[in-house]
Symmetry: D2
Subunit: 246 residues, 4 copies
Amino acid sequence: MFKEGDWVLIRYEERRYLRKLQPKSSINVGADVLRFSQIVGKPPGTRIGKFEVFYPTLEEIIVLGFERKTQIVYPKDAFFIAFKLGLDRSKRVLEFGTGSGALCAVLSSLAGEVYTYEIEERFYKLATKNLKKFGLGDNVKFHREDFLQADVSREFFDSAFVDLKDPVPYIDKLHASLRDGATVGFLLPTANQVVDLLRSLRDKFGGVEVLEILVRNYKTIAERFRPQDTMVGHTAYLLFCRKLTA
Amino acid sequence: MFKEGDWVLIRYEERRYLRKLQPKSSINVGADVLRFSQIVGKPPGTRIGKFEVFYPTLEEIIVLGFERKTQIVYPKDAFFIAFKLGLDRSKRVLEFGTGSGALCAVLSSLAGEVYTYEIEERFYKLATKNLKKFGLGDNVKFHREDFLQADVSREFFDSAFVDLKDPVPYIDKLHASLRDGATVGFLLPTANQVVDLLRSLRDKFGGVEVLEILVRNYKTIAERFRPQDTMVGHTAYLLFCRKLTA
Amino acid sequence: MFKEGDWVLIRYEERRYLRKLQPKSSINVGADVLRFSQIVGKPPGTRIGKFEVFYPTLEEIIVLGFERKTQIVYPKDAFFIAFKLGLDRSKRVLEFGTGSGALCAVLSSLAGEVYTYEIEERFYKLATKNLKKFGLGDNVKFHREDFLQADVSREFFDSAFVDLKDPVPYIDKLHASLRDGATVGFLLPTANQVVDLLRSLRDKFGGVEVLEILVRNYKTIAERFRPQDTMVGHTAYLLFCRKLTA
Amino acid sequence: MFKEGDWVLIRYEERRYLRKLQPKSSINVGADVLRFSQIVGKPPGTRIGKFEVFYPTLEEIIVLGFERKTQIVYPKDAFFIAFKLGLDRSKRVLEFGTGSGALCAVLSSLAGEVYTYEIEERFYKLATKNLKKFGLGDNVKFHREDFLQADVSREFFDSAFVDLKDPVPYIDKLHASLRDGATVGFLLPTANQVVDLLRSLRDKFGGVEVLEILVRNYKTIAERFRPQDTMVGHTAYLLFCRKLTA
């Protein structure tokens, strides 16, 4: 049953909203109003007029609830990354930079521990705030620091994810901080970055794959089934590889 | 360090192989031979000639190691499904049919418990064999049974995934077996199936989304960065929804 | 040299405008102004500040200059259709409905004669106006009439293109009006329409192909080469076939 | 009516064949045989058993009939290129290199004159042979010569298409040989080539667009409508621009 203070996902036709159940609050869509006092005490899946109310998934929390000052890592990419890295509760994962914390939240849901590094104060604050707001990230260690300056033991991490404009200067330190065979992912918006990174990986990292994930959404009217008119054309190239021994 | 009996991923240029380290065995690619006795005692990430050897991720186990008698659920779809369902260790998930067990292995890695149902004896045996072979699925309860005949308590599952040719006859029983607001996914190869299912969901399930995941793989030569010549054109439409209360 | 009354394409960074060179007119983009008196007498390819001025192609006339009351047939689809139909100056082509005249303009540029039919007065007027405005369509015969009511000789057309919500009732008359082996194209926004049409073609039309054309546009900054953030996700399914003899 | 010596397109289920009607010849597909003597005197669109016989379109001639020693320009790209260049019978077009002649055949079908240049003897011979074989290219002037060495008047061409590994050294000569505002297209398999070309175009060519054309083919069974399992993942990036005046 929904209770005061719960985060809920509210659907109204194709639209989605994430709201906290404050008793005197309400939501207006078009001419329709849903007072939150109508929801408290009701089970998830409750429909009131055109409104449908559910508990949110992690995807919905990230997409609808995370504040962002930069492009977030899209869930379609984040899910794929998390699985390509082969995470489980026994794994210690390195991430830099933290950004808005979207990928951090996904890594945290799968790995044992996440160490995340962020140079910029405003992102460091934003990510910690985003995760705390939704009770996420108990196993995350936030660092407000350039990973290049970080004091990290050799062969400390089982996996790493790198989301930086120019990851090339970080390759040697990254290599040193990873266990042999560790899985690594990179998120790179431009083809130029991929080309530069491919050059710098040589002999240090193997099993290289580069790919993009495209999601094609469809309209859901049974009598007129067809793709949506517009789609996200590009988020980023994803590059995966593994640490080779010296 | 690799030891006898370990499953390993062997890369040779763009090619990938999954092998068990039997001491007297070896692998031949082109004119090159890698004897497994050369690998035992070495760390993951070891490179011998053009061969690179790693521990496999779940994705690699499914794609390269699972025997199949039918199309498997592709990892690109499986990863997305698992996250859209919003699974974690507190969740009990229903799956039917089991098929070759590929999605079952992914659900098992995220959920608390997985109950999976399969009518056909040969698939039931195949899936149990595939998971056991790689030490997966401790939290999976396999049933050789049509879910329509299954003795299941009302409101028992937090989530469900359905991979059947014709899911329409299962909608009422599915609805009854789910908790309020439960997340549900369907995998549907054809547009006709999507249209039929959209019609049958009305008033029972809300928050409907239909989408496809496309993966575009790139060649990894820095000087000639470009997409691969061919790509997988279609695996299935994915439909997600949630149980509405009565 | 540009002269008064010419239609010109004006580019300003990524933006494109189609304008008629009226001597006292001008165009404003951001803080910049281009007076058309500056262009007259200059050659195409002239650059003035951030403005670049050219003669427009047919694609640019259709996309930027055609008035529309409905979705037009996109040039990416129109070009492909025109070639799949195998048109040349010896061919007489049937089109219905005319819509805004976009495809009609493309067919007209390749075929010998185009007969186009449109039920709705407002589209009939719009299409004739659009083509006349740009001096196109000398070889087009416009009919304000439902093709089902049209008085057309048997085996009169070499090719046909059909852009209607429900083409199924037109199949028999279409078949009768075409020469043996004639190429035919259909534009269909939804999967349901494709399924219905595939059923109705059986035994009357062969060589069936169904496809979609997707255009992926890229940003053109050399240092940051990457696809555009959004893309057109869907315009229509295209179905091609040929008349079988009885 | 089909007669001896005609080129015909033969369809058998999803398969397509291009054959010349030699009276004593035949085609075998599976257990079925079609003797060409059965076709002569029949109209296009004739169906004999599972065979359907038509006159081929230019697309089918290129894809099925052109001999190739290299990757041809795919019709999906060729059609789009031809229209983006804004060709008509009043236009003189430059092409280099000729390759197998696929794009040359398309340009020839739309433009007034085509001047095509090819360094390699074997491609020069192949392209002339391919076009002659099907009676195409009356308005094409073939040159076995590097365009860089060609004796070409200034401002001679209305349009140009370039399909070369490294077009950068050709940019100045290309610019000189084009009329002001001339449309130009480039076909570039790799992202690196696009980046290099974007750099070299600056200040000489404007109105730059870069794009890819993707074709998604569908299965044509009404009861199981869905995309084909595999698709062409990449042919080339297309870059379009126009000559700026000096």
